[in-house]
């Protein structure tokens, strides 16, 4: 046994963890070899993040054993993990925005009661690490002023500065442009070559195949497979993750573009503090086409959807929605938009798409609750709503098919299907969709994308905003790229590739 574990930096044995009634990790065992890059893949909710949080001491396992360098250890808190040389870069950065890079770096390892000495030695260490691993950042910059890619570098530096020899990264590329992702993968390779053990949690197979030595696949809380990266491929991994065959390519007919249903000219949005969130946005969406808006999260896409759906009035420019003019002086509220034939599937389904405490049946009519047949003379017709919801659930394959269950108790994918069902059921003329498949499992992703294409083929004008480039590429007939509140480029779907789009997303203008 001792020989077996000798070269393992980490070994997990029969780890089990439940949150209330949710059995998140079921008897998972795995080994991570020293000086390698190991990928852990799985769908959302497969338990990969939970398993790593247990390894990092953020959660306590209900059962099981953790071995570091072959010795069983207790991981009661992140302090223990740090003590054993384990560092974690979280999906949501654990950085204090108002602090400088140096202040963030020393937080928790200040090296004495007074800061001055710690800051000085961190400055020196930073210079050394920057050189050694190509992790350049300005030590005196405020974190809030850094790009997302740079913030991530600060996170990695923070971990290295604490002397970590084992680095866990949780969905590190979720917020990066393709170029920034490539840069990250280079850094990871360099780290491995200098002897650091890397564990990469992701659901993006491209990164797994590009950088890892070994892949561990998780499904429903269990470790279901382990492969040498060189001996596997995207199809096999996807199948292992989902448990059945998955088709990546959606076959869709060419768009049959009709008349313009949604158009905007020089739209702008300036907030109360004078920050320009949207700047000179002009676009049109015709019936029978899907227009995709690509961009790194936080470049104005959210605000654009808010303006187009009537949640916020524009501060400048005008738009025409189903032949109705809208501008700063003539705003339209979301209810009027709905009457005009605009349906909106918001980006943030838990805050804007549904009320988690409401029943599924209530979610299925939210926004339409004052219409026949759900409501007569100010009174809700419960049975009619329930029947309507059951109908939608059948058509959109929402599981479980229980209109009386609280919305919060459905999985992300099924919540999204329910919202999509609500918005698509009325055959809208314009369909605005934000992040259609964020936090949705692979099976549901396929279904949702097919429904969007069906809706397009039925003559709806569809606008999809997504930070997943792969999603935009597979859905859209035309692609607009947003950066810094502006549209910086337009590409026809056939001519688009990840590289050019990625450059535009990073702010480099199209030629």
């Amino acid at each position: 046994m001792q020989e077996l574990t000798a070269d393992a930096a980490i070994e997990l044995r029969e780890i089990d963890k439940s949150f209330g009634s949710v059995h998140a990790v079921r008897g998972a065992s795995l080994r991570v070899e020293r000086g390698s890059i190991t990928g852990i893949v799985g769908e959302n909710g497969a338990g990969k993040s939970t398993l790593m949080s247990i390894l990092y001491g953020l959660h306590l396992a209900d059962a099981g054993e953790i071995l570091v360098d072959g010795r069983p250890v207790e991981m009661a808190s992140p302090r223990d993990a740090i003590g054993h040389g384990i560092g974690m870069v979280h999906q949501h950065f654990m950085l204090v925005d108002s602090f400088t890079v140096l202040e963030n770096l020393i937080l928790g390892a200040e090296g004495g009661a007074l800061l001055a000495a710690g800051l000085a030695s961190a400055r020196g260490e930073l210079a050394r690490l920057s050189g050694e691993y190509g992790l350049a950042v300005d030590p005196d910059a405020r974190v809030a002023d850094l790009s997302v890619g740079e913030q991530q570098r600060v996170e990695i530096l923070k971990v290295l500065l604490r002397g970590a020899r084992i680095l866990i990264l949780d969905e590190p590329s979720a917020v990066l442009t393709p170029q920034e992702t490539d840069r990250l993968l280079q850094i990871l390779r360099l780290l491995r070559d200098r002897g650091v053990t890397v564990v990469l949690i992701t659901h993006k197979l491209r990164e797994i195949l590009a950088v890892t030595d070994k892949v561990i696949v998780m499904r429903r809380g269990e470790v279901v497979a382990e492969r040498r990266t060189a001996e596997t491929g995207a199809e096999e991994l996807a199948e292992l993750m989902v448990g059945r065959k998955v088709r990546f390519d959606l076959d869709k007919a060419p768009a049959r573009r009709g008349e313009t249903m949604l158009a905007a000219w020089h739209l702008s949005l300036v907030d109360g503090r004078g920050v320009r969130l949207l700047d000179d946005i002009s676009l049109e969406v015709r019936s029978g086409e899907i227009v995709g808006i690509a961009g790194v999260s936080g470049n104005g896409q959210t605000e654009l959807l808010q303006v187009l759906s009537g949640i916020r009035p524009p501060t400048g420019g005008e738009m025409e929605v189903c032949r109705r003019k809208v501008d700063a002086a003539h705003p339209v509220d979301p209810a009027e938009m709905r009457d005009l034939g605009v349906a909106h599937v918001p980006e943030d389904r838990l805050r804007q798409g549904l009320v988690p405490a409401f029943l599924a049946s209530e979610t299925s009519i939210l926004g339409y609750q004052d219409r026949e047949p759900f409501c007569h003379n100010y009174l809700m017709d419960g049975p009619a709503v329930g029947k309507y919801c059951a109908d939608l659930m059948e058509r959109f394959d929402v599981r479980p098919r229980t209109p009386g269950l609280r919305s919060a108790n459905f999985s992300g994918g099924n919540q999204q299907k329910l919202i999509l069902a609500r918005e698509m059921a009325r055959n809208p003329k314009v369909l605005l969709v934000g992040q259609p498949t964020r936090g949705v499992d692979i099976g549901a992703i396929e279904f949702i994308r097919r429904e969007l294409i069906k809706s397009r083929d039925a003559g709806c004008a569809v606008l999809v905003v997504s930070v997943e480039l792969e999603e935009i590429l597979s859905l859209a007939d035309r692609i607009l790229v947003m950066f810094g509140g502006r549209i910086v480029g337009e590409v026809a779907a056939g001519e688009a590739d990840e590289r050019t789009l990625g450059l535009m997303m990073a702010g480099a203008r199209a030629a």
Binding site: H59, R79, H90, H92, L107, G108, A109
Partner: protein, 306 residues
């Protein structure tokens, strides 16, 4: 000329006298708020401290025993606040208000039971009070100097020490502090206790330094004004100190202006002058403070998943 000078000096001295409890309270509140714990209960802590300071000084004859009792009383309430907000992740504003109500009621009930003077404590003799050190007229007792020193001290602790760095971090992104292996609860309890210490000193100042005994509701909203000073000061010690002085100045001018006829205006109603600090508080809170400067996690209990 000499008369004007005397007036200016007297006004400045009055300003400092009035501002002292505000400064102490504001510095205490600053520590609490920086850690992410909103302290609406400053008022209650100060009131309770004022009562126990006067009661203890009166019973023991020692001003320093009074100061000790004041700190102890404020710390008990601070721990209560910590227990409700940190340990049990309760609503911080509700807990603060509860502490204010508790202090308001308890001081009067205990005062009536122990001394039978309608909630007041017996008047304190000079030996039972903190007396001026250098300038008898100015009222420069030891707590005035403590308040003045507390400002650079607070700045230094918050900006230059490990504790300060962690304190600022826990008020912004407690999850980051937890992930760095530092106890969020531990930091917040320490911040709340520091706040109690300062509120205790402020209370002692009111009843055994500035005045010669406790009278009911003697804090008269000064805890809230201190809170406002923290906000005007954008959660920084020096500007908060400036705001406290501005309030003190306004108050001391108000006292000077009572009964004075101003040219062209006539006699300014006393009520209006007395309302000035409170009006200024409202005015500034409503319009002049950016929303983005408060510690991001202030008021938000830290929920750790298990």
């Amino acid at each position: 000329m000499e008369e004007t000078l005397t007036l200016v000096v007297a006004t400045l001295a009055a300003t400092l006298r009035v501002a002292t409890p505000l400064v102490l309270c504001a510095m205490g509140g600053l520590f609490s708020e920086k850690s992410g714990i909103i302290d609406v209960g400053l008022e209650g802590k100060m009131l309770m401290a004022a009562f126990f300071a006067a009661a203890t000084a009166s019973l023991t004859g020692s001003a320093w025993a009074g100061v000790g009792a004041a700190i102890l009383a404020a710390e008990v309430l601070a721990l209560l606040h910590g227990f409700a907000c940190v340990t049990h992740r309760g609503n911080q504003v509700v807990s603060g208000i509860a502490i204010n109500i508790l202090a308001m009621g308890l001081t009067v009930v205990l005062g009536a039971a122990w001394f039978g003077r309608g909630g007041q404590t017996p008047p304190l003799a000079a030996a039972e009070r903190l007396n001026p050190i250098f300038f008898p007229v100015a009222g420069d007792n030891v707590l005035v100097y403590v308040a003045l020193l507390s400002v650079p001290f607070a700045w230094w602790v918050i900006e230059r020490t490990r504790f300060g760095l962690r304190l600022r971090a826990v008020g912004e992104v407690p999850l980051a502090v937890d992930a760095a292996g530092i106890s969020v609860s531990g930091l917040r309890y320490r911040a709340v206790l520091i706040c109690g210490l300062f509120a205790g000193l402020a209370g002692a100042y009111l009843s055994i330094a500035q005045n010669a005994g406790f009278s009911r509701d003697m804090t008269a909203g000064q805890g809230f004004i201190a809170l406002a000073a923290i906000i005007f000061g954008r959660w920084r010690p020096m500007p908060a100190f400036g705001a406290c002085l501005a309030f003190g100045l306004l108050d001391s001018i108000a006292i000077r202006l009572q009964g004075v006829k101003l040219p062209g205006v006539g006699e300014v109603p006393v009520q209006l002058i007395q309302a000035m600090p409170y009006l200024l508080t409202l005015f500034l809170l409503a319009g002049f403070i950016g929303r983005t400067v408060a510690p991001k996690a202030a008021g938000v209990p830290y929920e750790k998943e298990h």
